[in-house]
Structures are given as structure tokens and as C-alpha cells.
């Protein structure tokens, strides 16, 4: 790993200052390594806690004829049993309430929950589930994406984004090329499965400990299902054992069922999904089949592009609308598309409802245009990097080639410079030439290299979600407690917030603690999603701190004689006008302020400026800014078996002025490897009847340490965000996933060397050994 330019030394302890830009260690690291970090299943259970289990459907599409749960109710230890017909408010959903909490009439995917049991132990609950007598009448099931497209089954209406006369441009372009791209979905594989512990409290109130990215939505949906006002439900989450989008909407069903069982039994109920149940019954990244047609000139400049994105949404809407909107808004990636038409199909199938997953549709849209670029380069006999560069958005706005298909001006385009730096750092051209020589002399092992860019829009596409609140307490001993609406899933949000708050007060980070995220402390929060956690909550926390600081400065100025504007908070001390004689400990000032009856706590609020988006015309400025990055990967491919290996990767990524280089590099490395898994070894495989056969780590293969190369060079592109983000940093949660495109296209490049010159390479994602051999034409299509 190369140290980030400008990054300061690591920051092991919390007692020294750790201003933004230092690598303060994760606030829970010492707890993680000693097994003392508590996840929901680790919390001491309230007396009388019951354990829940679910009965899942064994058919993909069926009419529920009879559900006989008598034996379940009589089973040892069983206290409460619920079926869909027991529920008054039986529907839920994050956007549309179109899903059954428990199936009432019709099963719509294999693994859908039919009933729920609460018993004295988890084993008793799971044993009782097996006693149910379920009668299902099978109905015709549509499992595959192509079948849904052929039958015109949509979960939401098609959407189109267009500019210019695409037919005309394609007809007159010097060159035309068309292609298709099949991309598989992806299981989140958070290590901690879905879990909620629901506790009844007095006066018809409920408290939930839930592993979720979206406590407010859990609160709303649980309140609705219980038929109570929102203020009767509190949802708390200290940390998740991973989420990646899979606990944004997908945590809701389990939270609701736990709460309903708690009401039915009058006792606390814990519902924890087993890994297989989790993988069968929760949504995944959407798989896409895309068709495209491009017109371009001799230099590879794209003149017109038509794309149809078809996604498998599953049986309900869930977040498929916004996911596909983001796919639509990211087909351009880093490239100006003058004349463009993008159509998005949101297909309905009898499979689990696909959902948010790191990148949120963006990766699926972006992989299409990267394929287009590669195919153009191959047809013209050019280096793909040159074709990429030819099509980049302009570095300076206002002189053309700066308008996205959705009408937003790209004002901060640094991709040209970033790629040029990476091209030099990675020695791309020399290695590419060396690989050509290697490939000419090797029959069965081929190498490939690719350098791919990314541009990712930062903000929720839906403007309203771009708001956040915070609550900051300064206690009389000068210690600080911060609450905000964001959730910690490992991304280091709490650590960055700690740095931000400590920096505001000029105190050491160990004087600042983060409370568990709790809807009773900060209300009406947005999901911690869209990479926005630090951008939104960091600003809200800063605002709360500054309200308190203004009052403290007033106290300081009044007591020492001076101007509040000259008060500085630094190094645990408060100093007026730089005068050592007018300086005191932060804690002393706080105590004096308290005695003077000055408010030592405050709330903060932030709403992202400048953004707007018209959901009807799908134009506007949905994103506050863009994050950029690029990666150069080199692979080796065994043409005999289709096995691949990543040999080296070099990454240059834009995190603005990084708040915490170690955490940001961790996000970059982790995102890259997760993306690499999506595009190589991670394959979801459904049987014809709709049963998911890759439902556990024995069959679904995420990368291991061996898959990560020794040469894994990551550097930060050190330049301030041009927008006024928190300390001019940039969001870093999702964008690095797309760095893994470089692995996919390096594999394609290796395959290209084995195919006749200029022949299009048709590689499906994931590039499994089988997909590799298919691309080489030695297997028939599946």
C-alpha cells in the first residue's frame, strides 16, 4: 500500500488530537479484536425473551390453499404463532406497500415467509416450524429475466432518458456496433445475518434493537404493522456486522415479524435468520441483461448510444425504482454522450425482491458503457484507454461536453488527470506491450491488463432524503456525547464523526463518544446509504457543535474581556485572542458555562444545497458532486479451464480531502475486492423451479485472502472537493466497488488475445471459469 499523499502518521491512541486528515483507528477496533463489540445477538436478553423461527415457502409461485398450524401451536415451548391471515395490516414495503409480511393468499417466490413461531428457545421454534402442514397449489412461475422480458412482466413501468435524435445519429455515424451484456446479481453476504430483538414496553410502546441501515424506516413500518403512532416505537442500532445495502429495506420484514410476535406473546422476541434463510428470503443486487447500439467515429468518439437496461426486480417493487433510476443516471460513467437514449425495464419475476447493494444500480449501468468502449476500441484496433480518454467529460465546465444525459453540468471533472497519473504510476503502457509479447508466446495461459475509470454521483437521487440531524451533548466534565441519524456498519462513520466533533471542540477524540443510533434521540433520519453517511451527518454534527461553541465563546469573552470571535478551541484548551494569560481548560469553561445557566447541548441539521431533480422529466441536478477513481488490473487466465487470477492492481481514488486516510483506503480496498467478487467468483444459481441453490458460503463464493494480490497498490488522489462538503472530503462508500471493472476488462483483454483479431468478446459477468470458456466459444450458450 502506498501512503496517501499528504496523509499524516497513523493515530493509534485517542488521547492526542486527531483532526480531519489523520488516520484515527476505528472507534470499536479494540472491541472488535477482543470479541467485546456487541451485536444484537450478543446483547443480554431481557427476562422471558422468546426466539422466533420462520416457515418458508417451498414453491416459487403458488396459491396458499391451507395452512394448518395446529401441531406447531402444540409443539413444546411454543408461545405464539402468526400467519398472514392473522394480520390486520399485512402489507409493507419501503416505497410501495406491495409485499405480504406473511403470505396471505399467493406465494410469489421460493423461500417467502408463510408463518412465524415464537418459542422458549431457538431450537424449539425451529423444530416447531417443521410440524406445519402446508398445502400449496402450484402456479406457473417466471424465474428468469429473459422470460419476464418476453412476457412483458413489469414490477414498475419502463422509463426512458433521451437526448437528441438517436436514430439519425446511428444511421449516419461512420461506424456502428451493437452488443449485449449479461450481469449476474450479488448476495450481500454481510457476516452478521438479519436480526431484531423486539421488546414490549408499557403504555403500548415498543423498543427494537435491529441490525439496520434505516432505523427510521423500521420505526415507521413497525408502527404501521402494529397500528400505533410512530412515537410509540423506538429503534436502536449501535453497529451492524456488515450491511452493504442489504439492511436498508431488507431488515424491515424481520423487525415487523419480531414486533408482531412480541405483541402476540407479550414478551420480548428475538428473530435471527439462519444464513440459508437469509440468503433465500432477502433481496440481492439486481441482475441485468442489457442491449446496446453505438455510433462512433474513427477516433472512437461516441456519437450516439442507445441502451436498454433490463433488470430482474423480483416479485415486488422494494427499491427497484430508485435502483434502476441510478443505473439510468450512470450509464454515462465518465463519458459525455451527446446523443443518447437509455431505456430501463424493471421486470417482475417469481424470485426474491432485489434491492439496494453498494452502488445501487450504478455499477450495472456503468459496466454497460465500459463494455461499449472496449468493443469500440477492439473494432478500431485502438488501446481502450485512448478511447476512454477520447470520450471523457470536459475537464472544465462551460465549454461543451459537460452535460450529463439527465441535464446536470459536470463541474468537477478530474478524471483525465487522475487517469493520466494512474497510467504513469502503474506503468500501464509498458506492461501492456510486455503482455502482448507474453501472449504471443503462450498457448494456454494468457495475461490481460485494463485501466478503467469511474465517476459516481453523490447524493440520494431523490432530493428529499438528503437531510440529516444530530444531537450533541457537552456534559459538565467536558466530555461529549454525539448522536446522529447515521448507522455504523463498519464503514467508520462513527470514527469520522468523532474526529469531526473533537476537532470542533478542539479536544482529543477520547473525550467524544458516539451513542447508539436511536430514533428516540434523532428523528426522521434517512437511510445510511448512497455513500452519504458522513457528508450528511458530519455536517449536522458540525452545526450542532458550532451552536454550542458560539455560546461557550460568549462565556469566554464575557469572563476574560474580549470578542467572542477571537476565541479558539484547540488542544483541549480555550484561548482568547491567542493570549496565554486568557486561556483555560475546555472542561473548566464548560463547568463555568453550566453555572451561568448556559445551554451545553444542541441539535444540528443539514440539508444538501444546490440539488434538485424532476422525477417526471428525470432531469436536474440530483448530485451535489461526483467522486472519481481509476484502477489498473492485470490478470492471468488459464484458457484450458477458464480459471483466472488477479496478479496486480493499482488504484488511484478521489476521496477529496480525506477525513481519515486509513478508513478511506479500507473502503477502497474492501469495495474493490467486493466488486471483484461480483464480477468473478460470486454466482447466484437458481434451479428451474426457482429454488436458489447458492444459499450459503459453501456454494456461494466470495473472495478470500488468497484472491487478493500481493501487489495491491492504493493511493488517494489528494485534492479538495470543489463543493463545500464536510472538510472538503468526498464520499467513499460505494464508488470503489466500480474499481473492480478493471479486473473484468483485464480478463476480457486476455481472452481477446486468444480470439481472432477484431472479433467482439462476449463475456458475461461473473467471469466464472465457465463464462470464460463460453466467451472463448468452446461451450454452447446456457
Amino acid at each position: 500500500m502506498t501512503a496517501a499523499p499528504g496523509a499524516r502518521a497513523d493515530h493509534p491512541a485517542g488521547s492526542a488530537l486527531a483532526p480531519p486528515g489523520t488516520s484515527l483507528v476505528h472507534d470499536s477496533a479494540h472491541l472488535h479484536v477482543s470479541g467485546q463489540a456487541s451485536y444484537v445477538d450478543d446483547l443480554p436478553e431481557p427476562a422471558g425473551t422468546l426466539h422466533a423461527a420462520l416457515g418458508l415457502s417451498e414453491l416459487a409461485h403458488a396459491r396458499l390453499v391451507r395452512l394448518d398450524l395446529d401441531a406447531v401451536r402444540r409443539a413444546p415451548g411454543v408461545v405464539a404463532v402468526l400467519a398472514g391471515s392473522d394480520l390486520v395490516h399485512g402489507k409493507f414495503g419501503p416505497v410501495l406497500a406491495d409485499e405480504d409480511i406473511l403470505v396471505r393468499d399467493t406465494v410469489s417466490f421460493h423461500g417467502q415467509p408463510l408463518f412465524a413461531v415464537a418459542a422458549s428457545t431457538r431450537a424449539a421454534a425451529r423444530a416447531a416450524v417443521r410440524l406445519a402442514r402446508v398445502e400449496l397449489e402450484p402456479l406457473a412461475a417466471v424465474i428468469g429475466l429473459e422470460a419476464a422480458r418476453e412476457q412483458g412482466l413489469h414490477v414498475l413501468p419502463p422509463v426512458q432518458l433521451a437526448r437528441g435524435d438517436i436514430d439519425d445519429v446511428l444511421a449516419t455515424a461512420p461506424h456502428r456496433l451493437a452488443g449485449t451484456l449479461r450481469q449476474g446479481g450479488q448476495e450481500h453476504f454481510y457476516l452478521e445475518g438479519q436480526i431484531t430483538l423486539a421488546e414490549p414496553r408499557d403504555d403500548n410502546c415498543w423498543h427494537l434493537w435491529c441490525s439496520t441501515q434505516h432505523p427510521t424506516e423500521m420505526q415507521h413500518l413497525v408502527a404501521h404493522a402494529l397500528g400505533v403512532a410512530v412515537h410509540r416505537v423506538g429503534v436502536e442500532c449501535r453497529r451492524m456486522g456488515g450491511a452493504f445495502g442489504g439492511k436498508e429495506s431488507q431488515s424491515a420484514q424481520w423487525a415487523i415479524i419480531a414486533a408482531l410476535l412480541a405483541r402476540a406473546s407479550g414478551r420480548p422476541v428475538k428473530l435471527r435468520l439462519d444464513r440459508d434463510e437469509d440468503m433465500r428470503a432477502t433481496g440481492k443486487r439486481h441482475d441485468f441483461h442489457s442491449r446496446w447500439e453505438a455510433g462512433f467515429d474513427d477516433s472512437g468518439l461516441i456519437l450516439g448510444l442507445r441502451v436498454e437496461l433490463a433488470s430482474r426486480c423480483g416479485h415486488s417493487a422494494d427499491l427497484s425504482g430508485p435502483v434502476n433510476d441510478r443505473a439510468l443516471c450512470h450509464v454515462d460513467n465518465a463519458y459525455f454522450l451527446d446523443t443518447v437514449q437509455i431505456r430501463s425495464l424493471r421486470l417482475r419475476t417469481h424470485t426474491v425482491s432485489n434491492t439496494a447493494f453498494r452502488g445501487f444500480g450504478g455499477p450495472q449501468g456503468m459496466l454497460v458503457i465500459e463494455t461499449v468502449i472496449e468493443d469500440i476500441a477492439r473494432m478500431l484496433g485502438l488501446d481502450p484507454l485512448d478511447v476512454r480518454r477520447r470520450n471523457f467529460y470536459a475537464a472544465e465546465a462551460g465549454h461543451g461536453r459537460d452535460l450529463t444525459p439527465y441535464g446536470m453540468q459536470v463541474e468537477d471533472c478530474i478524471i483525465g488527470d487522475l487517469c493520466a497519473r494512474l497510467e504513469a504510476q502503474s506503468d500501464y503502457r509498458r506492461r501492456r506491450a510486455a503482455i502482448d509479447v507474453f501472449n504471443a508466446g503462450n498457448a494456454m495461459i494468457r495475461r490481460g491488463i485494463a485501466l478503467t475509470p469511474l465517476k459516481f454521483g453523490i447524493s440520494f437521487n431523490a432530493t428529499l432524503y438528503n437531510q440529516a440531524g444530530a444531537l450533541v451533548h457537552v456534559y459538565t466534565d467536558g466530555s461529549v456525547l454525539v448522536s446522529h441519524g447515521g448507522t455504523e456498519m463498519g464503514q467508520g462513520l462513527y470514527t469520522k464523526i468523532r474526529q469531526i466533533a473533537a476537532h470542533e471542540f478542539g479536544i482529543a477524540p477520547d473525550r467524544v463518544r458516539l451513542s447508539a443510533t436511536d430514533t428516540t434521540r434523532v428523528p426522521n433520519t434517512s437511510a445510511t446509504a448512497a455513500s452519504s453517511g458522513t457528508d450528511l451527518n458530519g455536517k449536522a454534527v458540525q452545526a450542532a457543535c458550532r451552536s454550542i461553541l458560539a455560546r461557550l465563546a460568549g462565556v469566554m469573552a464575557r469572563s476574560h474581556g474580549g470578542d467572542a470571535g477571537d476565541v479558539r478551541f484547540h488542544g483541549g484548551r480555550v484561548t482568547l485572542a491567542g493570549d496565554p494569560a486568557r486561556s483555560e481548560d475546555f472542561a473548566d469553561l464548560v463547568m463555568r458555562a453550566y453555572r451561568q445557566r448556559v445551554q451545553l447541548w444542541d441539535s444540528g441539521f443539514y440539508a444538501t444545497p444546490k440539488i434538485h431533480f424532476d422525477p417526471v422529466t428525470r432531469t436536474g441536478r440530483p448530485f451535489y458532486y461526483f467522486a472519481y477513481g481509476a484502477a489498473c488490473s492485470e490478470v492471468a487466465v488459464d484458457l484450458a479451464t477458464g480459471a483466472t487470477r488477479l496478479l496486480q492492481v493499482d488504484i488511484l481514488h478521489d476521496a477529496g480531502c480525506s477525513l481519515n486516510p486509513a478508513i478511506d483506503i479500507g473502503q477502497i480496498e474492501g469495495g474493490f475486492v467486493q466488486g471483484m467478487g461480483w464480477l468473478t467468483s460470486e454466482e447466484l444459481w437458481w434451479r428451474e423451479d426457482g429454488r436458489l441453490m447458492t444459499h450459503a458460503p459453501s456454494t456461494y463464493k466470495i473472495p478470500t485472502a488468497t484472491d487478493v494480490p500481493a501487489r495491491f497498490n492504493v493511493a488517494l488522489y489528494d485534492a479538495p472537493n470543489r463543493e463545500d462538503s464536510i472538510h472538503r472530503s468526498k464520499a467513499v462508500g460505494e464508488p470503489p466497488l466500480m474499481l473492480a471493472f478493471s479486473v473484468f476488462f483485464a480478463i476480457r483483454a486476455a481472452l481477446a488475445s486468444a480470439l481472432p483479431a477484431r472479433q467482439q468478446v462476449c463475456l458475461d459477468a461473473p467471469a466464472s471459469p465457465e463464462a470464460v470458456l463460453r466467451a472463448l466459444g468452446v461451450l454452447e450458450a446456457p
Binding site: 445477538d41 453497529r239 483506503i665 463464493k701 478470500t704 485472502a705 494480490p709 461451450l779
Partner: protein, 498 residues
């Protein structure tokens, strides 16, 4: 529940966290993880998958071993599929037991913190245990390859592994901390007096029985008396029957206490491997005698699985995709099966009758494997193809063996896993090779014959077409390797930037 053992009802006795435990009243199939988390409320060890494939549940199993440091061997196992009754007489070390010299963090824990090697933290205790095991097993910083191998059974979805691998080496830059195994040795020696276990869960705990006979005769007698009892060795498969399928297993008989079943020795040019010998013990010895097994051994399974699972279990289970069988079939391995006092020998090739069906008679058990070692005239190779390099089940696994005399093939064995309902030899291909020379004509005949040997299925690991094509290509690859020519055939040989 931890209670004194009452009279004739023996509890499950083991040492953990500074005390001897004696557990009664739990199900005979309770896992170590379940006991830790629900009975002992020690929640540092996590459940990530309940099938031994993610490593979040790693604990160290401690056993007496004269060759190990302080006489105690420490090996990581997956506690999620290891039955509590299996650790009777042993000790476990969990993340709660780790600490540094002054009671703070252990060097591997501190290195994990310093390297920013945890993000969500859920997998972290498992990684810490794997790194602790690695740290305890050596005196100097491990190579990257050694670290990756030690971590082959640990999944992290957040970090991308780079900082974890760095932490493994960085731990050695701190003052050496030795985990004191003396209390474990004392406890293990004290528990060694009780030879056999017959644990019966009360009716309230399901009424199951777990027997661990201490002699070969007692084992044979037990199985004769209760032919329906299920034999358990390492539970790396049976553990999943419990956690995933809730299969009733009212009577389990554990092989581990029988000394004869731990035999691992050379007898007249044949390697004898007792049914209770773990993969971790068996494979290094196999590889010493048959170096061509090394790549397969590396990729067979991750260390926690190899530490618990046995080669005998791999064979006796009859799984179509077990990686042990193709090479054993190609090496003409034989099985010694025992029923009561009777021992018979059967060729491994005759053992499988169908999908997960074997030639074992009621009351009969696999006592040991007999592996004839190849002589100088024998050429042997095996290949594994899977979606992921580490800890993956093969799409197909191939083993090839020929004996040459004066350039003529005098014996041929071709065996595949993943190509049929059981691991199988390829008789037509073998016949085509027999009597042939190392030339293109023989290869061509063998390749065409191979196509007639199998009708593979399409499943989640590969399509039938892929399996057919790649089976032939592996044959070709082996042939070219025999001829000593051609391009390098392994990705291992390729270097970036070269």
C-alpha cells in the same frame, strides 16, 4: 448448564476459560458454538454461516501432544459444526482467553488494531483466532502465502484482506508473547483418566445419546449392537445435518477415542491411514510420499476443516464431490472394513454403490485406508477446478496415473470427482491408455474414450458441457506435462509485469 456430574450420568467434561466444565442436560448434538453463546454466554465467538465455511466461529482445540510445545497442540476448528460432546476430555481456547503480557491486547489483536484490519468487526474474532494459531505455530513472521493459507477458512466482506494479512506479519514486530499452555496440559492430563464417554441427554434435552468408545473392540461391539447408530469422526459433514437439516441423530458414535484408528504409518510400501486421522495429519504424509498431491492438498479445504475432518470420513460419506477420492482411486487405495471381529478389505473403487450409498454393511465401519505408494515407474498427477481457489467444492477433480515399462503404459488409472453421482474411475479412458505410448495417437484415443465414460450433470458448480470439455482438457494438460513440454500450465507460474 454447568453442574457437578451426578452419579451414573456422565457429563461432557472439558476445560475452558480457566476451569473444568462438566455439562449435563444439553442435547447430544449441541455444538460448541451453541454452548458458548447460549449456555456460557460467551458471545465473542460469532455464528456467520453455521456450516464451517466463514470462520467467524473459530476456536482453538487443545489436545495433549508430546511433540507440541508444552505438550499441548492448539488447532483452530469451526465451533459451529463441532459437537460439544466431541471435545469431552479436551480443552478449547476462545477469543475471551486471549490477552497480552500485561492483560491488554495480544500481539495479534494489537496488530489488527494498528493495521486498521477490522471494519464491521463481526468476522474479526475468527480472524484473530486464526492469526493467533498462526502466531503460536511459529517463531518468525509468516510469508504472505503462509498467512493466506492459514486464513483460507475465514471470510471478511469489508476489508479486502490486505490489512489482515499485514497484521499477521506485524504481530511479530512486537515483543513475543507466549500463550502459557501449562494449565491446559494439567487439565488435559487430569481428564485423560476417563477413557470412554457415554453421554445421554435427558428427555427434556431430546433424549439423544453420544458414545465415544475407547477401544476398537468396544467400538465394534457398540456398532454391532446398534447398527442404526451414526458414526461421527470430525463432524464437518454431520455438523451440517444438525445445523441445516435438523436431521434426527438419536445415537452418535464417535471414533476419536480409539487409538488404532489414529494409525498413520508405512507398512510394506503402503500407507495405512486410520479412520480417525484428520486431514491435517494425513495430507502432509501423503504429500511426502506422493508430491504430486501437494496442490490438491493445499486446496482441499481450509485448516479449521482439515483439523476436524478426516480422510476416512471423506471416503465413507460417499459424497460425489469429495476431493479425496479421485487421487485415492487412481492410487488403487483399499479400505479395511470391520464388523464385530471380522475385517475385510475392499478396493475403494468397489465401495460406492450409488449417490451417497456405500458397501458398508449394517454394523460395519471403515477402520483404515490402505494406500499403495507409487514406485519410480509410476507417473501421477491431479487437478482441481472450482470457482474459487480456496475452500471451494470442485466443479471437477481429476487424478491420473500411469505406469510405464520401456515406454509402454502398463497400468492406467483415471478417476474423476464431480462427473457422476459418485467419484468414479473412467474405464474406457483407462483401457485406451493401456498398452499405449506417450504419443498423440494414445492421447487422442484416451480423450475420445473419456467422453464415453461420463454423463455429468449441470448444477450450480458447472454445466455438463463445461465438465465434459474441461475433463478432456485436464487429460491433455496431464499428457503434455508427462511429455515435459508445452507452456506453463499453472497460473502460479505467472508474474505480473514480467
Amino acid at each position: 448448564m454447568t453442574a457437578p456430574v451426578a452419579g451414573d450420568q456422565p457429563g461432557i467434561r472439558f476445560w475452558w476459560h480457566g476451569a473444568q466444565r462438566s455439562v449435563v442436560g444439553v442435547a447430544s448434538t449441541m455444538t460448541v458454538l451453541e454452548w458458548l453463546r447460549t449456555e456460557a454466554r460467551a458471545v465473542g465467538t460469532k455464528e456467520g454461516c453455521a456450516e464451517g465455511d466463514c470462520g467467524a466461529c473459530l476456536v482453538m482445540l487443545a489436545e495433549l501432544d508430546a511433540d507440541a510445545e508444552q505438550g499441548v497442540a492448539l488447532r483452530p476448528i469451526n465451533s459451529c459444526i463441532h459437537l460439544l460432546a466431541m471435545i469431552d476430555g479436551k480443552a478449547i481456547v476462545t477469543v475471551e482467553d486471549l490477552h497480552g503480557a500485561s492483560g491488554g491486547l495480544h500481539p495479534v489483536q494489537q496488530a489488527m488494531v494498528d493495521c486498521h484490519a477490522s471494519q464491521c468487526g463481526f468476522c474479526t474474532p475468527g480472524f484473530v483466532m486464526a492469526l493467533f494459531g498462526l502466531y503460536e505455530s511459529r517463531t518468525d513472521a509468516p510469508s504472505r502465502a503462509a498467512t493466506c493459507q492459514a486464513l483460507a477458512g475465514n471470510l471478511c466482506r469489508c476489508t479486502g484482506y490486505r490489512p489482515i494479512v499485514a497484521a499477521a506479519a506485524q504481530a511479530f514486530e512486537r515483543p513475543r508473547h507466549r500463550f502459557d499452555r501449562a494449565p491446559l496440559r494439567t487439565a488435559l492430563q487430569a481428564m485423560a483418566a476417563r477413557a470412554a464417554l457415554d453421554y445421554r441427554a435427558g428427555a427434556a434435552a431430546g433424549g439423544g445419546r453420544f458414545e465415544a468408545p475407547a477401544t476398537l473392540a468396544a467400538l465394534a461391539q457398540t456398532l454391532l449392537a446398534a447398527p442404526a447408530a451414526r458414526i461421527v469422526a470430525g463432524a464437518t459433514d454431520i455438523g451440517l445435518w444438525i445445523t441445516k437439516q435438523a436431521r434426527p441423530l438419536p445415537h452418535l458414535v464417535h471414533l476419536d477415542r480409539v487409538p488404532e484408528l489414529h494409525t498413520l504409518e508405512l507398512q510394506q510400501g503402503q500407507l495405512v491411514i486410520g479412520a480417525a486421522v484428520s486431514h491435517s495429519r494425513a495430507w502432509p504424509v501423503l504429500c511426502r510420499h506422493v508430491p504430486a498431491l501437494s496442490d490438491l492438498a493445499r486446496r482441499f479445504a481450509a485448516p479449521p476443516v482439515c483439523n476436524a475432518g478426516t480422510l476416512g470420513g471423506n471416503v465413507a460419506n460417499g459424497s460425489p464431490i469429495g476431493d479425496g477420492m479421485p487421487p485415492l482411486l487412481a492410487l488403487d487405495a483399499r479400505l479395511r472394513l470391520q464388523r464385530g471381529g471380522q475385517v475385510r478389505e475392499l478396493a475403494l473403487a468397489d465401495f460406492y454403490l450409488g449417490y451417497q450409498r456405500t458397501a458398508l454393511a449394517p454394523g460395519e465401519f471403515l477402520r483404515e485406508l490402505v494406500v499403495p505408494l507409487p514406485g519410480p515407474a509410476t507417473r501421477f498427477a491431479c487437478y482441481k477446478v472450482s470457482k474459487r481457489y480456496d475452500q471451494d467444492i470442485s466443479a471437477l477433480c481429476a487424478a491420473f496415473r500411469v505406469d510405464f515399462a520401456d515406454g509402454v503404459i502398463t497400468a492406467a488409472r483415471v478417476a474423476f470427482g464431480g462427473m457422476a453421482a459418485t467419484p468414479q474411475r473412467a474405464p474406457a479412458c483407462e483401457a485406451a491408455l493401456l498398452g499405449g505410448h506417450l504419443d498423440a495417437a494414445t492421447l487422442d484415443a484416451a480423450r475420445r474414450a473419456l467422453l464415453t465414460d461420463f454423463s455429468p450433470l449441470s448444477d450450480l458448480r458447472a454445466s455438463a458441457a463445461y465438465r465434459r470439455v474441461v475433463a478432456g482438457r485436464l487429460l491433455e494438460r496431464w499428457w503434455h506435462a508427462l511429455a515435459g513440454g508445452g507452456s506453463p500450465d499453472a497460473l502460479d507460474a505467472v508474474e505480473a509485469g514480467a
